[in-house]
Each structure stands twice: as structure tokens, then as C-alpha cells.
């Protein structure tokens, strides 16, 4: 965090030296750009993010189980206020949290993920998101993100102006005055190198912060739910899916539970990823044999990473005391059996309907409409989500 800020200042400094012969000017520009972007991110960030993701707000009547699970995790994490709950109508599997403070937070989940997960897994995912809210990761990542953005923008413009400026003023300078030539050239070269390296360095640091917060969120989710296996098996399902979330982009990626852009199976410890590899996160969660506390997560991480540490000493010590893992909720095996059974029944009945010349229209919300052969209208309205469908 501090390093990113220092990089931002350095970029501003050289910008000033190069253009105004005065470091203050550049610093002021860097600060102004940063301040404007921060203010926007602070006050409008969550609504921008939610509308970019095409999320719609739901109440407890629309999806009682999801709403209940969010409320459960709100209680477990001790948040002062119930976050708003959003659904993104997208078959891809993902979820994210946003909001500048624990008092004003939102969690969003894709409809695809909601359908795939059982109660325990949903709890694990929501627990992870709730931890982002509770630990103020959203604020941290948006400040870091804004700094990164500012560095990238400033260096991009500055490096182009510098190259152009150096080429045109180089001729002038050699003919008229030669006194300060060497000094300016050194400053220019250092500046140019910085302008190229700063965005890359800032990005790497940004990714490193993001990955660390993901581990912390996983650990907190295990602590809140007292059931690491829930999140582990949810992550397994997330890893198995291939659909890319259309509405996600580079800037919003750190808020999601798994990286919505990168495909799993890339280099294991990728420096340029906002998230740790899913397989590794699952392995750590499954290695938490003794309990669900931060100390247990830390031990599990050490086991997987041969002795390295991930959570800060303060985090581990702050929640001392043994924390047991609870049993799986009773409904779990039954639920799976029922859903498999009904899926089979549905498949058979669809087959019979097709034989009788019924047409199938799939809605984006997941509902399937069976149109009888004598149907006249050209469109129907999906009663589940309200979309108009072409027959």
C-alpha cells in the first residue's frame, strides 16, 4: 500500500520536473487526479460496480434461502447492519461484495452459482464475501486500485509527452544553451524508466495485496461458518465451471470470490493474478483438520507451503481460543438426492413432450418453457423473471 503511494508520488515528481521544471506542479497534478478518482470511487464505487455487473436487488421474498444465509453470516461476522443482497442474471459462477464500510455494504451472487450450491456451500461463499466487508477489503482494494489507475494513466501520458518533448527540444537545446543539458537528460532518462516500470510494479503489488486479502477472507469464512469444507466444496464447483462472467473487468476482479477473468490451470503461483489458484485454496481449507480458527488456517497454510506464513501475527493472536468445526447440516445429502431425482424426471418428461411436437424455449433466468404445438402467439412472457421470449 505504502509502496504504491510512493510510486504515485515518484511519478508525479518526475512529471513535474519534466514539464514544469518544478516537482511541485507534478505532485499537485498527481494528487488532484488521485483525489478526484478516489472521491468517485468512495461515493459512487458500489453503485457503479453493481450497475456494471448488471445486478438486481432482491428482498427476502425473492430468494428466501439466499437472504437467510446472508443474514446468518451477518450475525456470525458481527456486522452492524444487514448488507443489500443482489443477484446477477448470468450462468457463470461467481459472487462479490462491495461497499465502502460495514454499514453500507452489498453482496452479489450470480444466478448460476445460486443454483449450483447447496446450503453449506452457499454459506461458505457468503462468509467469504462478508469477510471482505468486515475487513474493509473493499475500501482497501479500491484505494489501491485508484492509485494504480492514476499511476497507469499519468505514466502513459507522461511517457508519450516525454519522448515527443525530448525529440523536439533536443535540437533546440544543443544549438542554444548547453549548460544544464546533462542534468536534464539524466532526469529525463530516470523519469522515462520510472514511467515504464512504475505501472508494472504498482500492478504487481496490487495483485499481491489482493491475493493476501483472499487468503484472509477464506480464513474468516471458515471461522464464521465453523465449516471449512463448505467453502472448499463450493470452490471446487467454481473451479469446474468454464463460463466467463461477461460483466466483470480488470478493475472489479479483486472483489469476486474467484478471478472472473483468468482460467484455472494457468501457472500455479501467478504473479499477475488477483486471486490465488483455486486448487491451492481448496487444499488449505481441507488441511484445516483441528479447528476453524485463524490459527488453524495459518497452520494449514504452513503445511501446504512448507512453513511460510500468510496471516499477520496480530490476526492469529487476536482471536485466541480453540474453535471447533461443526458437523455438516442434516439436509445436505437429502437435498442432493432430491435435486438429482427431479432433474431426471424433468429430462424424461421433456423427452416425451418433444415427441409430441412441443417446442422448448430456454429463458436466461434458467426456466424452460414448453410450447404446445397449437400455440399461435410469437412471443411469451417468462413468469419467473418477466423477460419476453421469442417462440
Amino acid at each position: 500500500m505504502v509502496v504504491i503511494a510512493a510510486l504515485l508520488l515518484a511519478v508525479g515528481y518526475f512529471l513535474g520536473v519534466a514539464f514544469f521544471q518544478n516537482a511541485i506542479g507534478g505532485l499537485v497534478i498527481a494528487f488532484i487526479v488521485w483525489a478526484i478518482m478516489s472521491l468517485i470511487a468512495y461515493f459512487q464505487g458500489d453503485s457503479i460496480l453493481l450497475s456494471l455487473a448488471k445486478a438486481r436487488k432482491i428482498s427476502s421474498d425473492d430468494a428466501p434461502q439466499l437472504y437467510n444465509v446472508v443474514e446468518e453470516m451477518k450475525i456470525a461476522s458481527g456486522l452492524p447492519k444487514m448488507p443489500d443482497v443482489y443477484i446477477i442474471d448470468d450462468p457463470a459462477l461467481n459472487a462479490f461484495a462491495t461497499g465502502r464500510s460495514p454499514e453500507k455494504a452489498s453482496v452479489a451472487i450470480t444466478s448460476g452459482l445460486l443454483q449450483k450450491l447447496n446450503r453449506d456451500e452457499l454459506q461458505g461463499v457468503i462468509g467469504h464475501e462478508m469477510s471482505h466487508v468486515k475487513n474493509r477489503d473493499v475500501l482497501l482494494m479500491s484505494i489501491a486500485g485508484v492509485m494504480l489507475g492514476t499511476i497507469v494513466i499519468l505514466s502513459w501520458y507522461a511517457s508519450r509527452f516525454m519522448i515527443y518533448g525530448a525529440m523536439t527540444s533536443g535540437n533546440r537545446r544543443s544549438s542554444s544553451r548547453n549548460n544544464s543539458g546533462a542534468g536534464t537528460v539524466i532526469v529525463l532518462v530516470v523519469g522515462l524508466v520510472l514511467m515504464i516500470l512504475a505501472p508494472i510494479a504498482a500492478q504487481l503489488i496490487y495483485f499481491a495485496i489482493s491475493r493476501k486479502r483472499e487468503y484472509l477472507a477464506d480464513a474468516s469464512s471458515a471461522l464464521y461458518t465453523r465449516y471449512p469444507e463448505g467453502l472448499a466444496s463450493a470452490l471446487e464447483k467454481l473451479a469446474a465451471s468454464t463460463g466467463e462472467l461477461k460483466s466483470a473487468n480488470q478493475a472489479t476482479a479483486p472483489m469476486y470470490i474467484v478471478n472472473p477473468l483468468h482460467k484455472e490451470g494457468r501457472a500455479a503461483t501467478d504473479l499477475t493474478s488477483t486471486h490465488p489458484p483455486i486448487s491451492e485454496r481448496i487444499r488449505i481449507l481441507r488441511a484445516m483438520a483441528g479447528g476453524a480458527s485463524y490459527a488453524d488456517y495459518e497452520n494449514a497454510y504452513r503445511q501446504v507451503h512448507s512453513g511460510k506464513s500468510i496471516l499477520s501475527q496480530q490476526t492469529v493472536a487476536g482471536a485466541a481460543g480453540a474453535v471447533g468445526i461443526r458437523a455438516a447440516s442434516v439436509s445436505k445429502p437429502g437435498e442432493i438426492a432430491v435435486s438429482e431425482k427431479s432433474a431426471k424426471t424433468r429430462e424424461v418428461s421433456d423427452m416425451m413432450l418433444r415427441l409430441n411436437n412441443y417446442r422448448m424455449v430456454d429463458c436466461e433466468c434458467g426456466a424452460r418453457w414448453k410450447i404446445p404445438p397449437g400455440f399461435r402467439d410469437e412471443t411469451i412472457r417468462c413468469t419467473r423473471c418477466g423477460r419476453t421470449l421469442k417462440v
Partner: protein
Amino acid sequence: MIALWIILGIIVVLFFIVIGMYNGLVGFRNQVKNAWAQIDVQLKRRYDLIPNLIETVKGYAKHERETFEMVTKARNLAQQASSAGAAERGKAEGELSMALGRLLAVAEAYPELKANQNFLALQEELTSTENKISFSRQYYNDSVLKFNNKIQMFPSNIIAGMFNFKTGEFFETTTPEERQAPKVSFT
């Protein structure tokens, strides 16, 4: 003269440290109180759900009178214990949880009941309420642990002694089922 100023400075600093510790302790105590209120809300919600649930199940399983009576009795006992201390209350609520578990197990034997929309909605509500109870208990116990640590550890124990802060009571339920190791079943 200088010595006087130094002594005065030390006193002022000490004063602020004491204030800080005192406020910290009050904050923790309020957190414990608030966590306890959270449990209360969820327990009340559970009392309200039970009559509805029994009515729905009754429609399909008339012959399980014993179970209904047991649940109703456990509910009334728990409601009466709601003004008692954490330990006694925990016991009554544990028994209610057990009785409810029995009721849901009974419901398993009636396929028509399991397909009833009203019952499914109630079941989800009940599951969630049970979860909320255990999560709020979890949060309450975590808060009590932090508060008790503050009261008993040096140096805040001095302030706690001076202003008569008392350690909080953990909320334990003592049903035999919860003490057993988690079972895994494969179907």
C-alpha cells in the same frame, strides 16, 4: 520546578491511559450485551415459528401427538426460562432444539408433507433460524471471551477491578448430540 512538570506530565498520561482502558472495557461490555440481544431476537423468532410448523405437520401426521406435545412443552419451558441466566436458558433452548429435531425427523416419514410448499418454506425458515441462533451464540461467546480476557489480563485487570467489571457468562447448550463427534453419512 522541572521535576514537578515531569510528575504532572506522567499523571496526565496515566489519566489518559486509564480513560482509554475504561472506555475499551465499556465497549467490550456493550458488545457482549448487544450479542446477547441478538440471540434473544432469534430465539423469539423460533418461538413464533413453532405453532405454525406444528399446525402444518398436524395436517398430514395426525398420529404423532406425543411429538407435538413434547415440542409445545419444550417451547413453553424455554419461553419461561427466557428471563433466567445464560446457563439455565441454554439448557432449556437445547431441549427445544432436540424436540424440534424429533419433529422434523417425524416429518421425513410423510412424503406428501415433504412436498408441501408451506412446509418447505417453514423448514427453510426454521433451519435458518437455528443457524442464526447458533451463529449469534458463536458471536456472543467470542465477545465474552474477548471481554473476559480484557478483565483478567494485566494491565486492564486493574481498571476492571477498580470499576467492578464482572466477567461474562458463556452460553453453552448441553444437548448430548452436540457433544458427539460429527458424523458422516454417504447416500
